[in-house]
Amino acid sequence: MRTRLCVAALLTCLAPSRAPALELVDGKLQVHGFASQAVLKSTDNNYFGNSPGTSFDFTEIGLNASYQSTPSLLFSGQLLVRRAGEMYDGTPSLDYGLVDFTPISDTERRLGVRLGRIKNPFGLYNETRDVPFTRPSIFLPQVIYYDKIRNALLSYDGIMFYGDRYLEQGNLSLNLGVGQSVIDDNVEWAYLGDDVEGDLSAEGINWGIGSLWFSTPADELKLGLSAILTETEFDADPESFLTPGTINVFDWVASFQYNAADWTISAEYSRAPTRWNDLGPYFPFEDQVLEGYYLQGAYRLRPNLEIMTRYEEGFANRHDRDGRELSDLTGGTTPRSDFFSKIWTLGLRWDLDPNIMFRLEFQRHDGTYALSIRENPDPGDLVREWDVFAASVSVRF
């Protein structure tokens, strides 16, 4: 714990007050990065580590490079180191790595294609969800941007076509992509509830994403609709109590944002019909419609000082919002309150300068649906009503 405190202290000391981005080859090659350390304390339940005993297990470091070789050709990639409680241990991963070709680009339209590992343009925040400076708070709204299954939304390997149309009334933007999803152990824990004998895997093209955005010319109003369609295979080991099957998810989100000089209002609504097929008689769930929504307001007291508040609700099944039926399916071993989360958030953001940011945050939770099962394996230990305090320091260049 002491070493991580030192890391946080070092972060603030090392960051030059005006760190310019690194630029090479006449500015065509840019290198950017960020680092962030948070500390959490919760009244109950494990949230990003052993939070009842104060957790420092939330560290994010990213380093990226991009090369604009011609106006129509861009290469880019980012390495990410992320430590998040029991969910991520800090092993470096390729966050994205792509080539972007824009054959048509003028003052009226832009058409292009990306190839490689691509971040999913899902909702307002998913594309840059691990960059603290781009988030509205230390924690994203968990009822839509689940950290417990972050990799199920994060990125995919494949191709994406994009088009922008610039009009007097505003800008339209369309993204359409297909490829293969990136699956990890957390996805297994979230969808199967246990580290089961067998593996989840992506076979062939199992991922489709589309998103459509409209914004007024000065970006005051932003409206969006994003959707992901995916199928994941489960290959059961011979000794597994499950049989081989598939999991189908159709996840969509409608997004709204209004930007004024001093304040920003954001709201999103998401639904994800999820179907588990052929997993055998011992797997309790078949059909669920996950649902989540939030309303969020941010007010800038000064350009570098912002307060925010958010209310969000999320349900494992929108047809069973009090969790009664799902709890009964587990024979009552998992309490009803593990199938919903209702969360109030209050946050403060202070940008000491454009490259150093401090945050304080308080959350009051009713329900434990937002928690990772991997971090809280015994449902008997869950506490329905709990609070979290968090603070973070983030630097960038």
Partner: protein, 145 residues
């Protein structure tokens, strides 16, 4: 008919506007570009496309190089608000989305207005902004309609 009071109010308003403009010298910030770009005027929407890094080439095919002052610089704030009609935090949000999702780049941040003039004068395809008259033959002041 205009009453004496409303006449006085109108006078006060006009005076206020004139003073406001003079006191914050808000009027003469200019969009500037390197002389080789072959462009003399831009619409506000076109200027936004350049500064949000979505339009990367000039009509003659040259790569656009955008220069800006730091986010908390007063001239940057005035240029963003009054010429582009965008709040500075919105520009930052667009650039961050691009550089941290790999879908684009960010402008080059310079540390002073003098460095801005030097870089725009010496970089082919450069675009930036300046406060007040510019007397450098390599820099062209662009009119924003």
């Amino acid at each position: 008919m205009i009453s004496r009071r409303s006449f006085r109010n109108i006078l006060r308003l006009l005076l206020g506007l004139g003073l406001g403009c003079a006191s914050v010298h808000a009027c003469p910030q200019d969009l500037i570009a390197h002389g080789d770009t072959g462009v003399e005027t831009l619409t506000r929407n076109e200027a936004r496309l350049f500064f949000t890094m979505r339009l990367k080439n000039w009509p003659n095919g040259t790569l656009v190089k955008v220069f800006v002052l730091p986010d908390n610089n007063a001239l940057h704030n005035r240029f963003s608000n009054e010429v582009l009609g965008l709040y500075p935090y919105q520009l930052r949000r667009v650039w961050d989305r691009q550089i941290f999702s790999g879908t684009g780049q960010a402008p080059t941040t310079v540390s002073s207005e003098q460095e801005m003039l030097d870089r725009v004068a010496t970089t082919p395809g450069a675009i930036g902004y300046a406060d007040g008259p510019v007397e450098n033959p390599s820099i062209r002041v662009l009119e924003v309609r």
